[in-house]
Point group: D2
Chain length 483, copies 4
């Protein structure tokens, strides 16, 4: 470990925080942010940058409009920007949350593997679809990292884009001095559920913020080995639930059918807890893509564990900005068609920002390169643990290691991630295929099927794979799909 | 690393080597050994110990008879022994090569997983069958190790029993001061084949002993990254063969049908070499159980790569001593029904022994706990590399590391092995199941199928699982098969 | 790293905290604690245990008396106890802060090495005197750890006794499940001084709690590579001071003579900062015993750097309870001879305790076994970093590593510490001497001088070295002093 | 560890080996080599390159003359070359053994530290003089490595130049694909002495080649933990000698006075063996510069251990080619003034070369980057262990680790070496001083003395420190000597 003295930086000032928001045309997250900022004790400006400039414009309009509404106590101004340079120059904070690829790519991420019997539930962050998504995303994020190095090298960078581990790792790989953290909701969800158990089982008056966990792993495959609510050890409660009927529910496809794709019945969680003695802290639909044996029985097996597969039609619909119902109703508010009331989201961004500028301290889970906070995983791999956030600093908390079988599973995924990251330095598709081939989901296929699936995915998403040398690939040349 | 000063031992004397042979009733290996010894420059005695005393008696008779035949230049005497104590006391060398379990257990090792779609070719050393075999074998070998510690703590121990990595690891785990090496033919086979390529492609006059390789890995999943024949680099030859038609052959089930189960067409080898840039050095039928994606297409896919599955009927037949045709014809010779001629085997045992007693040096591949000879794998795991053998010492040769995807695969298997070894200390079946569940073959099953397969195997082989606490297992209790 | 699931414990309740105080007869620290508790928002009881029961009685009297004074808002009761069992049973918190050895031992710690030209300034925690002190202390602390394991296995243990690294390590070595932290003021002093620089150089309104540092190392040899005051990076200020006259002061013996032995002129600090680029965070008089080249010129060289040697006469005087003027005036207060006014100390104990019972969070430097918080030092060595303290948990913050020369120095000291700890398991004096001989101060002596110095120290302190097998030592047998 | 596939090379042919000899004007080693080659079974040519061309010419003449003498069975031709390019192009083997610096530099290496109380015996490879020697040598060897990379990238490079660890490390640091080994006589000397003990104590008929040792460490600070003679364990003999009078001899200055500077009484060896349980395998005069406590009592203490200090006058005389009596009498032979008889040296070069071209195998100690052969030291550091040499390959033998105190000592020296090597990449004098300051000998000085000594050495040897940025150094600027 060498010293990264460039990372000793003065905290942003709470009087005027300059936020650059790449992907600022978002229909859901941006309006939430705007409302949270308006109710905060911080002031500043937000620059919204998006591949769809009109979305950024709309959000800028909304942001400035919110400032005039009841309950808006902070002073913020918004503008849409049209180059990375103008967006980033002088920024204290950069938010990156993009989804440039059209929905069809996500459809391929799910549907092509399905043809080969791989029933990923979301294909978001690992497995064949997750790796392809990483391959599409990494080159873009290398560009963002390079632009940050040039225009605002000391800025705090918040990455919300999936696959969070691949993407955050790519940011550091491109610009090692970057001050980036990857953020994700899954562990927050676990704490939320643990608060519920504290209320139900211990009759405590508890909410998410009362629950503290010792958390570690990689994003979407994190594990908890200590949990407390207001200092009360929750382990006995969890063990009891795990061993009770509550931890042994089975579901039929019919029971699952009407549920939202986000339904989380925790049966995968309980099963893994039973098996390994530590509690996984991510949604079941994500866990199965890392503990791949849950995927082997197809849809029925998934359903039996209470997991619903994100149909590719759902994805196609919801990730198309225009039709998504995951959005908030900005236009209706602006037009006065719908009554507006300032609300606070559950997001932690403003909490983190407040601590970073020096207003108190805050502890939450973040994704950062491993400098020792997770034992047993290699240095520099992007891992997820709690971090202490104070004025001008985010410090990961040393969380220890894992039971060997869990460590083995995680290291296997880290090997895939690191292999693809290395391959992405030169755009070497065959080197990326080495990582693809050792992925736990892909390994269920024969060699030729794996190659064909890879080639099919590449062919289907060819237009979004800039930065990869498709022509020079021996693997693709051997495949039928590409030839 | 602490010093193992107890391992500084005087070499056995070549004038009288006392060999204890556990499993000495073998019909194939023992007669070979007897003939090799008779033609060596060493003298001594051999004690034959076997679960079938009559087999040991027969081989003792044969051994003493061979001494009187033409060409027998060395002086050796043979006797059958009936306790470990009398066998081991004062021994310089211990050979362990047993197959106590009845053939039916091996049938289960293959057939039960097959019901679950797992088409291992031999189920000998990894995968569900290999793990069960390890579970049956480890407790016995702990007993052998304890007896060696008591009766001949300084003896050199040669383990030939599979799964070599599990078993050799168990010997060291039970008695850390043991001087044991695990031996296997696979790498010798690779050198044999490389000599053939040197003859065919380079027109060299070459045999196995002319070929040297830099070899590393775990038994049956070793890798070569340097190969020479009489000092000539063979890599260009190998790369050319790999990329030629020779490295791209496909087989139909019909083509394979008539072949021996030992047929090795090297197509798995070439494919792995293509993929990872290093050459695997074990038979294809073993490799596929470690690089499990080759197993995913069932028998047809195996056949397509030129691999023939060892039918369980074959196993049942050949592992029953009486009917096996893998034997030599000891009775016929003794009875004079068949003419006897002293022949030399291809075994390396006498070569190693000669070096150990100080007659020159010898280099060959051995399985030993990792003290640094393999980079990237944990210390103490039993790994396979070359070793230099000299008077009183066997020293592993530092062989370096692996490309990351290969290291990832090997580490995954090491995690399984180490988890089972740890579990075997207390006979904890549930801890062993954790290792079973992360096995690369098992991971292709859903959770419940994995549990049922495990329970079915346990139930089928219950009589041979002494040393395991079957009653105390929560996993078995949950299963249908066991309940 | 295995899971230490026993360490998942419910936080103590703030309504009634039971504190066991071993060494509770202290004249300085105990009265401070009593006053801090009286002004806190916590309630409970304190059991005072001491080798000098009358001192414990006096403090108990004082404690209960304070409860009736103005400003005492919390409810605490005090009693003197006379066995470890009654002291510890049911305790939530254990404070250990003892100085059982009579002053003469400390005189030897300083004077014997001085005869050999080793001019330690305090001989408190490393070097020949520090190692002997460790040898006297470790066996006692093993007893405390065993008693805690028996009587209050889940208690939070605060160790204040030097050598903090040796002693805290011994607690964990004896009872791996202990919940102990080692505490020390040195890093607090550094933060205090940095606050002064922030006031003086940056005109900020700052105090210790405004300064945050990224700190890591071993106790008394910790290093800072990031420092901020209210988020403002202090590094430029520190670099400027370092390179200015302020960082280049020289002192004559005359200038130093009148100073307190605690004087700290930071010239060793600046010199080390210049040399290695990171800022040491302990008093100069401690640093020189780890960066031993500062000690080589004897008293004059020490003085030149502004360091005053703790004369052994000072030690003899101040560590004898009766005469020390490091005490507070408990009797005078109790007798009404002196006016009493409740004051708050600068101690962090109550701050930590408050966080532990769930009243907010707190961050401060602590000594804990390394689970990854310090990169480049071995696991389990007791290291010092910041920790986040919350209800029922103390979690070290991952602080990264060091420039290689600094890591090299620290590892050398860790090797000494670990060697002595290992030796203490069986009381093996010769094994301890191996650690003594590689100590950086001792290494300046010839072999025989080192042996004689060791033997002389052993002989002088023989009465306090219970637990060590002096008779069985070959090293002592060879020496003149012992024979 | 990545694969170094470029290191897979075909062995040189024994029919015609092309040897490039940098430093080929040597008066001692070159004539030995010429005679050894003449009596070998190898043929080829030798190119002699030297900073003193006339010395190379003389040796070439001698080489060709020897070919015509009785007993010269092999065919070798010799020529003096005058550029690195002509010397190296097409070479199979490169010998590097130079001493370009004039004798005065070595005088400074010894005398300047002596002024500061540092009584190194030879100052050859570590300590202030050794580090300066490294600083003079490394830049030259970087040039050699670069030339080898350009003109004969696959050649086998034998480095005999001290400090062997620094220099061999620099070769690999400059050209990572180099096939270099560092060679040294010290371990051979230990085996020679062990053969003597086998003769004297065990009445065996033994010579050096009968003794095998398990050896590991860094050059001049290697350790043996197993030793056998013809397979017979020598440990009991060594322990008995160690504990007897033989291992406890003391010497007066008078007794030492008449001895050669190379006298080796093994008393340092026995003392270290007593202390740490493992046997050091280098001359006592080297060992004391690594186990620096032996140097602390000045000349008298050295003498007491039977070590004689190499007076700088000796060095001045013997390292000036013209006057040295360490030479052989080439001119006298050529002129017929002295009778010539072909003799064999004790050098191992021809033995190694014979194995490398495929004539059998050979095992001896070599210095190579650590790939796991030494446990507990960092990868890539140049370590010394045995290696197995075969056609086209040199493979280090995995030798395990050390008792902790020994590991600690070695790692400390490795830290110095690595720090200086890193500094040499950019010629950063201040970074080199960080390594100098943590050297075990230097650490006995106060800060300012250390700085002055460093500056004095730099000033004295300024003319030979090309490649270092003396002007940009803050350390030198602060010093009095340089200013």
């Amino acid at each position: 470990m060498t010293l990264a003295s460039t990372q000793v930086r003065t905290a942003p000032s709470s009087d005027h925080v300059t936020i650059a928001y790449i992907g600022g045309g978002s229909r859901q997250w941006a309006p939430n942010l705007i409302q949270d900022l308006a109710q905060s004790e911080l002031d500043g400006e937000v620059r919204l940058y998006d591949a769809h400039p009109e979305s950024a414009e709309r959000n800028a309009r909304f942001g400035n409009w919110v400032q005039e509404q009841d309950g808006a106590v902070a002073e913020w101004s918004y503008e849409a920007t049209d180059t990375l340079e103008t967006t980033l120059t002088g920024a204290d904070v950069v938010i990156i949350s993009t989804q440039y690829d059209p929905a069809e790519t996500f459809v391929h991420d799910l549907d092509v593997p399905k043809e080969y019997g791989i029933y990923g539930a979301v294909a978001a962050t690992i497995g064949p679809g997750g790796i392809l998504r990483a391959m599409r995303t990494i080159p873009q994020y290398r560009e963002f990292a390079a632009a940050i190095a040039e225009h605002c090298p000391d800025a705090w960078v918040f990455n919300y884009t999936n696959p969070v581990h691949f993407v955050t790792r790519a940011l550091y790989d491109e610009y090692p001095g970057i001050n980036a953290i990857g953020l994700c909701h899954e562990v927050l969800g676990t704490r939320h559920r643990l608060a519920r158990y504290a209320r139900e089982e211990l009759d405590m008056d508890a909410e998410r913020s009362d629950v503290s966990v010792n958390v570690k792993g990689i994003n979407h495959f994190t594990w908890v080995d200590e949990a407390r609510c207001q200092g009360v050890d929750l382990w006995p409660v969890l063990e009891e639930l795990r061993d009770s009927e509550h931890g042994h529910r089975r579901f039929t496809p019919e029971e699952i059918e009407g549920e939202s794709v986000f339904v989380d019945n925790w049966q995968v969680t309980w099963e893994l807890f039973r098996r390994f003695g530590v509690l996984p802290a991510a949604g079941d639909r994500h866990l199965i893509e890392y503990a791949t044996w849950f995927m082997q029985g197809g849809r029925e097996e998934l359903n039996r564990w209470g997991v619903k597969r994100t149909g590719s039609d759902y994805r196609a619909k919801h990730w198309t900005p225009a039709e998504s119902d995951q959005t908030t109703d900005v236009e209706a508010w602006l037009e006065g068609e719908k009554e507006f009331e300032l609300t606070e989201s559950n997001e932690t961004f403003v909490d983190i920002l407040r601590a970073l500028v020096g207003e108190g301290t805050y502890t939450t889970n973040v994704n950062l390169p491993n400098v020792g906070q997770v034992d047993g995983l290699q240095e520099d791999a992007v891992v997820e643990t709690n971090a202490l956030i104070r004025a001008g600093e985010v410090k990961p908390i040393a969380a220890g290691g894992f039971p060997r079988p869990v460590e083995s599973l995680i290291r296997g995924h880290v090997d895939t991630i690191e292999t693809v990251i290395e391959a992405s330095r030169t755009g070497d598709v065959d080197a990326a295929f080495e990582g693809f081939l050792i992925d736990q989901q892909v390994r269920t296929l024969g060699t030729e099927d794996a190659r064909e699936m890879f080639a099919e995915l590449i062919v289907a998403e060819e237009g979004y794979l800039e930065g990869w040398d498709l022509e020079g690939s021996a693997v693709l040349e051997e495949s039928e799909a590409f030839a």
